[in-house]
Amino acid sequence: MNQKTIIPVGPFHPLQEEPEFFELEVEGEKVIDITVNIGYNHRSIEKIAESKTFDQMVFLVERICGICSTSHPIANCNAVEDLAGIEIPERAKYIRSIVGELERLHSHLLWAGLAGHFIGYNTLWMWVWKYREPILDLFEAVTGNRNHYAMMKPGGVRQDIEEGAIPALSKGLDEAEKKIEMVTKAALDDPVLAARLKGVGILSKEEAIDYCAVGPTARASGVDIDVRKDEPYAAYGLVDWKIITQEDGDVFAKVVVRLLECFESIKIIRQCLQKLKTTKGDIAVQVKEIPPGEGIGHHEAPRGETFHYIRSDGSNMPVRLKVRAPTYVNLPTCKVTVPGESVADATIILAAIDPCYCCTERLVKVIDRERGRKWKWEDLLRLSRKKTERIKKRMGISHE
């Protein structure tokens, strides 16, 4: 009866070096150990960067991740500016923050939808993604593209936000806020979600510190780190907002942090749009030469701190670019959050750190080595969804 089974889950995951392949070791329903195997998406970006100029490098790092596609450029520009001692114009600061926060909005909504999908709440998925579309429309209005915005460059931003566009943007933001508020209220009051996510996959504060976790993963465990506050770059020191933290460290706390952060983002964008009306001037300074030396830049991406280290020898290309994406330190925390939980909960715990799971859905084989039975990722999802069904039934809820 008590046989151990190894369940492989994966591979594929979209950040720089982080497609992942999990091996869950289970005993009956309970997970006793987890091994993560990454590298399926290793595209050698750090090496390619050595053959790009500083201007081209921004386009390359933008393509590290399509969801954080302005976080890496901001961190990269911060690093180049730190290296060369460049101060960007105030107007550029506001535009950077606007794009950065719009990205946080779309990313958090995307995650909330996928989280719903994983626990068998497809209603939540469709609902949230429907309301994510207006944010992408705002992106299209500001940058000209839905993803891969190409807004950042060392020394400032590439495109201005015209004064005439601001009222329309504010209006779009107001409408999006109403929708997000409705979704947030619905999600946080939902008894099924609470039953399913509360007390699941707890990451304690000490463990978060020990594993050097960042972003919402750390903040949900009561570690109040946020690069935007700790090292106010762009316009984050010029506007009023607060860090959202929770103490419980479970999956529900991570949902709460992300959803509440959406409102802080809206607050920041609104203030930045106001300031743009009165702040005139250039949107970029001319960067002529990058001196030899080292620079470090970081940015609070939706998933946590994105870190870039650049070394230059005085030529127009970097000697070395080191990128640390937030999932790189958040993912190993599954070593403490998953063991002890049931297999049905493993999917949502792994998804809770927001490792862009939409790519993880295929090529999944679950093999029961002893009995030779093959499982698939969908079987795991089905287990996860069945659990939601059971909880709903117990509570006497029978919609869908």
Partner: protein, 137 residues
């Protein structure tokens, strides 16, 4: 493409990422959500390759992914169609100088439709899929 007529009414797609930046992948998912709603063409995203008629491939094909990609393709039932989505899948795009890149996709498996863009907009993906359906005659 005579033998494909059976797929005309409802194509089931499977989505495979072989080392992309995830942007094409979220746009594919976006196609299925209310605003674009690919399901009105009978297109359904499935979780298992054994149920699929079409694979949507994204990404520049990394060395570690290559054997998995081929295996997935081999496991797919006949008749099979492949759609390459995004610049990386078509030409390896910006990642072509990388030491870990062995793509593009059509070097390793036959591709029947190409959707260019970085990333292609959902409209472009829908257009590509509809054109593919139209060609099945």
């Amino acid at each position: 493409m005579g033998k494909f007529w059976a797929l005309k009414k409802s194509i089931w797609v499977f989505h495979m990422c072989t080392g992309s930046c995830n942007n094409c992948d979220i746009e594919i998912l976006d196609c299925l959500t209310p605003k674009f709603d690919l399901e009105r063409f009978g297109i359904l995203l499935v979780g298992s390759i054994r149920h699929a008629d079409v694979i949507l491939v994204t990404g520049a094909v990394t060395r570690k992914c290559l054997p998995r990609m081929k295996l997935t393709w081999e496991q797919m039932p006949q008749p099979k169609l492949v759609v390459g989505i995004g610049s990386c899948a078509l030409s390896t795009g910006i990642f072509s100088p990388g030491y870990n890149i062995v793509g593009p996709v059509d070097k390793h498996i036959p591709v029947h439709a190409y959707v260019p863009g970085c990333p292609p907009k959902p409209e472009a993906i829908i257009d590509g899929v509809v054109k593919l359906v139209g060609s099945l005659g």
